[in-house]
C-alpha cells in the first residue's frame, strides 16, 4: 500500500514543485510528500464550492438561513443545474481574502451552518433532488458560541439525517476534510475526492500536540494518520480520486471543475438507477462496515496486576510499614485516571 501511495505521491508532488508556491524540497521523504499535499489542500487559492459550482452549473441559486438562529456564511447551500440534472448543493466556503475570511469564519461553520445544511438537505429529499456536497473545512468552529449553540448536536443530527435521506448523495472532498465538521456533510452514497484533498479524524497539528506533545510534529502525524486522498481510497473511506490539473487545483479552477463535473454527473446518473430503498440500505451498510477489529476467544485477558490478599491485609493492618507495596500497580478502580489525553 505504501508503495502505491508513494508512487502517486511522487507524480503529484513533482508537479507541485514546478508551481511557484509549491514546496521545493527534495520530495523523496514520504513525510514531506504527505505534508506537501496537506499544504496543497490548504492552499489559499484552491477552488471552493462557489468557484466550482459557478464553473460547472448552468444555473445556481443560493439559499440562506437555518430558520432557527441565522445564516452562517461558512456554509453555502443552494439549488443548481449541473448538465441536465437539478440538484441541491451544500458545502463549506473559505474566504479568498482576509475580509471574506472573517465573514466566512475561515470556513469553520457554527451550528447554524450545519442546521442550514440540514434544512436544505431535507428540502432536497422532499422534492426528490439529489444532493452534492463539497467538503472543505479545517474543522467545525471550536469556540464558546459554538458550544453554547450545540455544535456537537448539530453535527450528530446532520450525520443522522444524511444516513437516512431518501435521495442520492454524492460527496466531494475538495480540500480539507477536517474531522466531525467534515463528516457532518460527508455521509453519502459515493465519496469523491480531489487528488490533493486530505481527510482526517483530527488536524495533524492537534494530533501531534497530543501524541507528540508538540504541534511541530504535524507532518509526522499527517503521515501516521494516512490522511491523503489516495491513502484514504486504499482504506475504503474514499471511492474515487480525481486527478488535479497542472501543479494542483489552484492553478486551474476551470479544468478542476470540468473534471469534477464529469465524475459527479456520471455518479448521479448511476445512483439515479438505484431504487431509494436499496440506496438507503447500501448507504447504511457502507458506514456500518467501517472499522478494523477481530473477534478473539471471549475468555477474559489476564487480570490486572494487583497486590495479593495477604499484602492487602497487611496493608490494612499497618499501612505505614508496607507502604513499599505501592510500587505495585494499584487496582485500576482505585485510581483516578489521568486527565484526558485523547481527543
Amino acid at each position: 500500500m505504501v508503495d502505491r501511495i508513494l508512487g502517486r505521491g511522487r507524480d503529484a508532488t513533482a508537479e507541485a514543485a514546478e508551481a511557484a508556491d509549491a514546496v521545493t524540497a527534495a520530495l523523496t521523504d514520504p513525510k514531506q510528500i504527505t505534508w506537501a499535499r496537506v499544504q496543497l489542500a490548504r492552499n489559499l487559492r484552491r477552488p471552493r464550492i462557489l468557484d466550482l459550482v459557478g464553473a460547472m452549473a448552468e444555473e445556481f441559486v443560493e439559499l440562506h438561513g437555518d430558520r432557527l438562529f441565522g445564516d452562517d456564511e461558512a456554509v453555502v447551500t443552494g439549488l443548481a443545474r449541473i448538465g441536465d440534472r437539478r440538484v441541491v448543493v451544500v458545502g463549506q466556503q473559505k474566504g479568498a481574502d482576509t475580509e471574506e475570511n472573517i465573514r466566512r469564519n475561515f470556513g469553520m461553520p457554527h451550528p447554524e451552518g450545519y442546521r442550514k445544511a440540514m434544512r436544505i438537505m431535507e428540502l432536497a429529499e422532499r422534492f426528490g433532488l439529489p444532493i452534492v456536497t463539497f467538503v472543505d473545512v479545517p474543522g467545525a468552529h471550536p469556540g464558546p458560541e459554538s458550544e453554547e449553540r450545540g455544535i456537537a448536536e448539530a453535527i450528530a443530527r446532520s450525520i443522522g439525517l444524511m444516513s437516512r435521506l431518501r435521495t442520492p448523495i454524492v460527496v466531494v472532498i475538495t480540500g480539507e476534510g477536517g474531522s466531525g465538521g467534515a463528516l457532518a456533510i460527508a455521509v453519502g452514497d459515493v465519496v469523491v475526492a480531489l487528488e490533493n484533498a486530505v481527510y482526517s479524524v483530527i488536524s495533524p497539528e492537534g494530533c501531534a500536540s497530543i501524541l507528540w506533545r508538540t504541534s511541530d510534529e504535524a507532518p509526522t502525524a499527517a503521515l501516521a494518520m494516512r490522511m491523503t486522498a489516495p491513502e484514504q481510497q486504499a482504506l475504503g473511506v474514499i471511492d474515487i480520486v480525481v486527478p488535479e490539473p497542472g501543479a494542483g487545483a489552484h492553478t486551474d479552477h476551470a479544468e478542476t471543475a470540468r473534471r469534477l463535473k464529469a465524475v459527479i454527473v456520471e455518479q448521479l446518473d448511476a445512483l439515479a438507477r438505484v431504487s431509494l430503498d436499496d440506496l438507503v440500505e447500501a448507504r447504511y451498510r457502507r458506514f456500518r462496515g467501517f472499522g478494523a477489529f477481530r473477534e478473539v476467544d471471549a475468555t477474559p485477558p489476564p487480570p490486572p496486576e494487583r497486590p495479593g490478599l495477604a499484602d492487602r491485609l497487611r496493608n490494612l493492618l499497618d499501612p505505614g510499614r508496607w507502604s513499599g507495596i505501592s510500587s505495585i500497580p494499584a487496582g485500576r478502580a482505585d485510581r483516578e485516571p489521568p486527565a484526558r489525553d485523547e481527543v
Binding site: 474543522g139 471550536p142 469556540g143 464558546p144 459554538s146 458550544e147 450545540g150 456537537a152 448536536e153 453535527i155 450528530a156 443530527r157 450525520i159 443522522g160 444516513s163 476534510g177 474531522s179 466531525g180 482526517s200 479524524v201 494530533c207 501524541l211 502525524a221 501516521a224 494518520m225 490522511m227 482504506l235 448507504r283 447504511y284 451498510r285 458506514f287 456500518r288 462496515g289 467501517f290 472499522g291 478494523a292 477489529f293 477481530r294 473477534e295 478473539v296 471471549a298 477474559p300 485477558p301 489476564p302 487480570p303 496493608n315 499501612p319 505505614g320 508496607w322 507502604s323 494499584a330 485500576r332 478502580a333 482505585d334 485510581r335 485516571p337 484526558r340 489525553d341 485523547e342 481527543v343
Partner: protein, 367 residues
C-alpha cells in the same frame, strides 16, 4: 465480564469514614488504599469511597467509575450478560507515535483487564430488560475506535431487534486518533444505527459522565431521547485547550461542564450519582418501545376485542415475578454480522406488546 472486582454497592448509604485526626505521614497512604480528592484535597479511604459510589463525601466530586462499577450501579444485581466480549482492535494504519498502537492496546489491556474501552450486553433495570453499553475512560482515555463503535452499534441493533430500551454510558475523550478516519467513521456508523432505533420508536437513554467530549459527544452521546449527565462532568465538542488556543477568547466560567450544557438546553437532567439509577428506572416507565404495527391479520379469523385479554393479569404477574429470561435468543454476532439481521420478531404474544403499566412512549420530535 472483565475480571475487574465487582464491588457491589449496596452499602452506599453508609456514612463515609472520615480520616482519623491523627494523620499519619503522607507516604502512609498507599495508593491502592487511599485516594486524594482532586477537588478538595481530602484523603479518602478507597473501600469507603467505593461504598459511597466514588463520590467525595466532603465536596461531592464525582470520581470516574470503571465500566464494571457503572454496570453495578445502573443494573439490577447480577443481571448483566456481556456480549461480544472478544472484540479487539486491529491496527489498520500501522500507527506509530512514541509507541506502536498495538503496544498501547496491550498496555491498556494489561492495566485494565478490558479488551477495549467499552463493554456491552443485556441486563435488567428494575426488572425491565435493556441493552446497555458502558465506556471506560481508563482504557486509552475511553477513546472510540472500531471496537467501541461496533459495540455501541451492536447494542443499538440488539435494542432495535428486541425492542428494548438502549442505555449508553459515555466516558471518553473522543475518537481514537490511532485509527484515523476509520475511527471518524464510527460516528457515522453509530449514529446511522441510532436513527433506525429512533424511527422505530425504541427509546435511548444517554448518560454522559466525566468526560464526554469530541466525536463521542458529537455522535451517540448527544442523541439520547433523554440525555442525563453527572454533576460537573466535562462535556464538549472541542477540547478546552483547542478552544482556548485556536480562538483567542476568554472561556465563560463553567464552560463545557454539565451545568453549562444543561443551561444551554442540551441535557435533560443533571443527576447526582446516588440518584442516577432511580432516575433511569423512572424514565423507563415512560420510555417504552412503541408497539409494533400489526403486520398481518389472518384471513377469516375473528379479531379478539383489543382490550379483552383474560389472562393479561396473570401475564403481568408472571412478567414481574418470574426471573425474566432477560437475554433471549440473539446468538453472539459473528464478525460483521450486522444490522440487517431483520428485527427478529420476539416470540411474544400475538397481540400488542404488554404495556398496561406504562403510558405509551411519546415520540421525540425530530430535530
Amino acid at each position: 465480564m472483565p475480571p475487574v472486582p465487582r464491588t457491589r454497592l449496596e452499602g452506599w448509604s453508609d456514612v463515609p469514614i472520615k480520616l482519623p485526626s491523627f494523620r499519619p505521614r503522607r507516604d502512609a497512604y498507599p495508593p491502592d488504599l487511599w485516594t486524594k480528592c482532586p477537588s478538595c484535597g481530602e484523603m479518602l479511604f478507597n473501600k469507603q469511597l467505593d461504598k459511597v459510589l466514588r463520590v467525595c463525601p466532603s465536596c461531592g466530586h464525582h470520581f470516574r467509575l470503571s465500566a464494571a462499577a457503572r454496570l453495578d450501579l445502573v443494573l439490577d444485581h447480577g443481571s448483566f450478560a456481556e456480549r461480544d466480549g472478544g472484540l479487539e482492535s486491529e491496527d489498520p494504519l500501522g500507527f506509530v507515535d512514541q509507541k506502536g498502537y498495538p503496544d498501547r492496546i496491550a498496555a491498556a489491556q494489561l492495566a485494565t483487564g478490558m479488551r477495549d474501552a467499552a463493554v456491552w450486553g443485556t441486563g435488567l433495570v428494575d426488572g425491565r430488560p435493556v441493552a446497555i453499553c458502558v465506556m471506560d475512560f481508563g482504557f486509552m482515555g475511553g477513546s472510540m475506535g472500531a471496537v467501541v463503535g461496533e459495540k455501541v452499534t451492536r447494542a443499538t441493533e440488539h435494542a432495535l431487534a428486541e425492542r428494548i430500551p438502549l442505555i449508553v454510558v459515555s466516558a471518553s475523550g473522543g475518537a481514537r486518533m490511532q485509527e484515523g478516519t476509520l475511527s471518524l467513521m464510527q460516528l457515522a456508523k453509530t449514529v446511522s444505527a441510532l436513527e433506525r432505533l429512533r424511527a422505530a420508536g425504541v427509546p435511548f437513554v444517554s448518560i454522559l459522565t466525566d468526560p464526554t467530549t469530541g466525536g463521542v459527544f458529537a455522535s451517540y452521546a448527544v442523541l439520547g431521547d433523554v440525555n442525563i449527565a453527572e454533576p460537573n462532568a466535562l462535556i464538549g465538542f472541542a477540547g478546552a485547550r483547542v478552544s482556548a488556543g485556536t480562538i483567542a477568547q476568554e472561556l465563560p466560567p463553567g464552560f463545557q461542564r454539565s451545568e453549562f450544557l444543561y443551561e444551554h438546553g442540551f441535557l435533560d437532567l443533571v443527576v447526582h450519582r446516588s440518584a442516577l439509577r432511580d432516575e433511569v428506572v423512572g424514565l423507563l416507565r415512560y420510555l417504552v418501545a412503541r408497539p409494533q404495527p400489526v403486520v398481518e391479520v389472518i384471513e377469516g379469523e375473528p379479531l379478539a376485542l383489543p382490550n379483552f385479554r383474560p389472562f393479561s393479569f396473570l401475564t403481568n404477574l408472571a412478567e414481574r415475578v418470574l426471573p425474566p429470561e432477560s437475554a433471549p435468543a440473539a446468538p453472539p454476532n459473528g464478525n460483521g454480522a450486522g444490522p440487517g439481521t431483520p428485527p427478529t420478531p420476539t416470540p411474544s404474544t400475538s397481540g400488542p406488546r404488554e404495556s398496561s403499566t406504562s403510558p405509551p412512549a411519546e415520540e421525540a420530535p425530530r430535530g
